[in-house]
Symmetry: C2
Subunit: 141 residues, 2 copies
Amino acid sequence: MANSNEKGDRRERELTNWLDGNGWAVMRAPASGSATARELPDVLAGNGETFYAIEAKSSSGDPIYLTDEEVDALCYFAENFGAEARIAARFDLENGDPSYGDDDRKGWYFIPVGDLYETPGGNYRVKKELAHEKGVPEVEL
Amino acid sequence: MANSNEKGDRRERELTNWLDGNGWAVMRAPASGSATARELPDVLAGNGETFYAIEAKSSSGDPIYLTDEEVDALCYFAENFGAEARIAARFDLENGDPSYGDDDRKGWYFIPVGDLYETPGGNYRVKKELAHEKGVPEVEL
């Protein structure tokens, strides 16, 4: 599930650093994948009480699509580990977009898997609007 | 804390695979280290109830030494994340050693940090005997 895209990698580092700076202990998955055959989430985060298995996706503005397999693998790992599954979605900052201006999450929204939109083909989609609407978790992340 | 030694890396993969095969969801730290400045444990493991931050050390037989800084960093991450800190210690199999013969943990012993021997200089040591004596955690690992 690792994002080999350079910009995606940079964004994921920003996410990790933001989590680290906000009280979370964080481990990113190895770029070369796991030692086992299992798919890994991009990031594991814990704060002593809550644990998140996170799949990170950034976009220049278009909707983000996730395959059924990606979401299943995330949920499988999360359940086995004992973490909650979240999609971290980030849409590039637009000049003057007021919904990003004062957001210290650097534009990342954390979306519970159950709130993803399921496409007729059985995959999943995150639009920017959905991220903004559903992307504030019950726990302050 | 990553072990750049090739044999150590192979041993750590064996450990990860063994954990994976025994009901644990496992993530190894990236070889190139974290995105943040934090030291990471070698392995994070969870089974839905229990979480371990693991520092893995293998030896051909000599005692294993850990610096004060290594142990402190492991405990710091473990506490922030919400995991228990364990040293996974493995001493190479000796022919005919009865304590290894039927051990499906492949020779790895999981030692609570509080059971490490503290040297007069303030570092920590694991002898094979201590690993065998203390290396069975209260939770079946």
